[in-house]
Amino acid sequence: MSHVTPAPGNSRPWKARLLSHEMLLLYVLLAEWLFFYFAGTTTNRRGVVVGFGTWDRQFDILRHSCEIGLLALALTPVIITAGIDLSVGSLLGLSAILFGQLWHDAGLPIPLAIAFTLVLGALAGGLNALLITTLRLPPLIVTLGTYSLFRGLAEAITRGSVTYTDFPESFLFFGQERWLGLPTQAWIFFAVAAAVWLLMHRTTFGRSFRAIGLAPEGARYAGLPVGRRVALVYVLAGLIAALAAIIYTARLGQAKADAGTGYELFAITAVVLGGTSIFGGTGSVHGTLLGVAAIAVLKNGLACLPVVMRMNAAEEMSGLLTGALLLLALTAGVLPKMLSKLRPRRHAPAV
């Protein structure tokens, strides 16, 4: 098993590279894509190609995976520090509502409303961070509480019924149009992905997150500011969730309290599928991106299969397969360890 991100000058044998978790996932993704390309593309009565194998559909997949993709990017550092954040989906909903309110009720111009929403998202993440680092509470239960709190606040603010709509065209451009050939939000998603990738793989922050996930005490003994680093990943998760809320609102043209319900699950699945260990320490941002892509292609590809279309069950089918996929990825992660325990243990090499 590879624990190490390849660094320049890395002399890992090519065999190990081709069999790394990320590469395996890439093969699965390609196979998946090819399957849907051949099984999900048809020609309609007027002789037009429809279904999976069209550019429109491919762009659609990209457009629809941006929000969950962003949440998965937010969760990657969190899970690498051996934490969890269940509140990102709820925070997406709350941020969407706050954004709508800032723009519609407070009359702020769109850019200012976006800026305030991002700050509020970071503050909400800061609440998680505060409880987890200063009181040493388990992240699971803290974020379970804020999962309920954030969604509840969104519902309370809108009284369960208010929906913000009629956003200006210039704003909807971010969610519904294309820029330089790609869906506009895809550019934002790629930019965030690049930023998180650099943070995780090219800066000392990523280094400390890994060390904290593997050995929190060891990180403290090495003089790393453990509390501040852990706080950072939760604040960052809040910030990115708020950004996802903006994109979500721009795509649908409306902000509702139930925005992003259940997204945390898909995001966690993408991260774990992407090779990040739920016990912390190992994982990569490119793995997460592949995980997001695998789930998105599955979801959209299923919708293109004639048999699924007849059943009208794409949503359920993809949910079912995503859950099964997560179980499979988890099991695959521990099976080698379980098997190696059964084998006689080798001695450590003598000096």
Binding site: R136, I141, R151
Partner: protein, 309 residues
């Protein structure tokens, strides 16, 4: 008394809430709506008992909502086919136990973290059910409704059943060796292994048990209405985890008891009707529940920090 400080403080909060209601909204205590409220919460109490066991053993199960839905629909379909209650009830319980066994096998057998395992089974079960049923309701024969009893009697039976179960389980947790094993495993799995307990087996059985209780609770729910809603279990997991944690069961395992979970559930269950009676909009319910969970864990955190120093 300091040992039960946590439970007593929840009871105190509940008493204060009830007192406030008695002064500002005496209508809350009129018998009929109160009985309906308690009946509605009876299945939740049954699941909360199971959740308390799971959390005491240092695990968590967030798939109970989906298990609940699956058991409800299965039981409803069997009943609609004309199966008698005496067969539908055990079938529902067995169904739940089987679903719990899947979680148990993955958590205890493969030593996977229960949070992710049950997250996965939660979505798999829910979407599987949606796929098969497409959100269809199941119409129930009258013979099943309220166990074929008059409504008021049926309500009383449900409440009595849930309370009896609570008492039986609370006593078992205290007075049966099996109950003490759950505490021992949750406190320190390694030490319990040395004391001759099999922690993996205990963990597995706890998951099976909460599954069975969920099956029972599903049954207690479907008898209350003429139709089975396939989404009836949505959000149940959060409600029961919140109740258990608010009631003083430590998420780190080994501490707390069912009486506390019971008080926690009553406190949370009273929030929504209290809001109505105090003329606060019901949309605040979820936010207030979240705040109560956070308050409870923060209180625990502060207490343990004080004790540590």
């Amino acid at each position: 008394m300091s040992r039960y400080f946590r439970e007593l403080s929840v009871v105190g909060a509940l008493a204060a809430l009830l007192l406030g209601l008695a002064i500002f909204a005496p209508a809350f205590f009129s018998p009929q709506p109160l009985l309906s409220l308690v009946t509605r919460e009876a299945p939740t109490l049954v699941v909360a008992c199971g959740m308390a066991l799971v959390i005491i053993s240092r695990q968590i199960d967030i798939s109970v909502g989906s298990q609940f839905s699956v058991c409800s629909v299965c039981a409803g379909l069997l009943a609609a086919r004309g199966w008698p209650l005496a067969l539908v009830l055990p079938a529902s319980i067995t169904m739940g136990a089987l679903l719990g066994a899947i979680n148990g096998a993955l958590v205890a057998g493969l030593r996977l973290p229960s949070i992710v395992v049950t997250l996965a089974t939660m979505v798999t079960l829910r979407q599987g059910l949606n796929l098969v049923r497409q959100g269809e309701f199941v119409n129930m024969p009258d013979a099943i409704q309220w166990f074929g009893l008059p409504q008021a009697t049926g309500q009383l039976v449900l409440v009595a059943l849930s309370v009896a179960l609570l008492i039986a389980l609370a006593l078992a947790m205290r007075h049966l060796a099996a109950g003490r094993f759950v505490y021992a495993v949750g406190t320190d799995a390694e030490a319990s292994r040395l004391a001759g307990i099999r922690p993996q087996l205990v963990t597995f059985l706890v998951f099976v048990f909460i599954g069975a209780l969920t099956g029972l609770a599903a049954m207690m729910n479907i008898v209350q209405s003429p139709q089975v809603q396939p989404l009836s279990g949505a959000g149940l997991e959060l409600k029961v985890i919140a109740a258990v944690v608010v009631g003083g069961v430590a998420i780190s395992g080994g501490r707390g008891n069912l009486w506390g979970a019971f008080a926690g559930l009553l406190l949370l269950a009273c929030v929504s009707p209290a809001l109505t009676h105090l003329h606060i909009e019901a949309y605040w319910e979820k936010a207030i529940q979240g705040a109560i969970i956070l308050l409870a864990v923060v209180a625990d955190g502060l207490r343990s920090r004080k004790a540590g120093n």
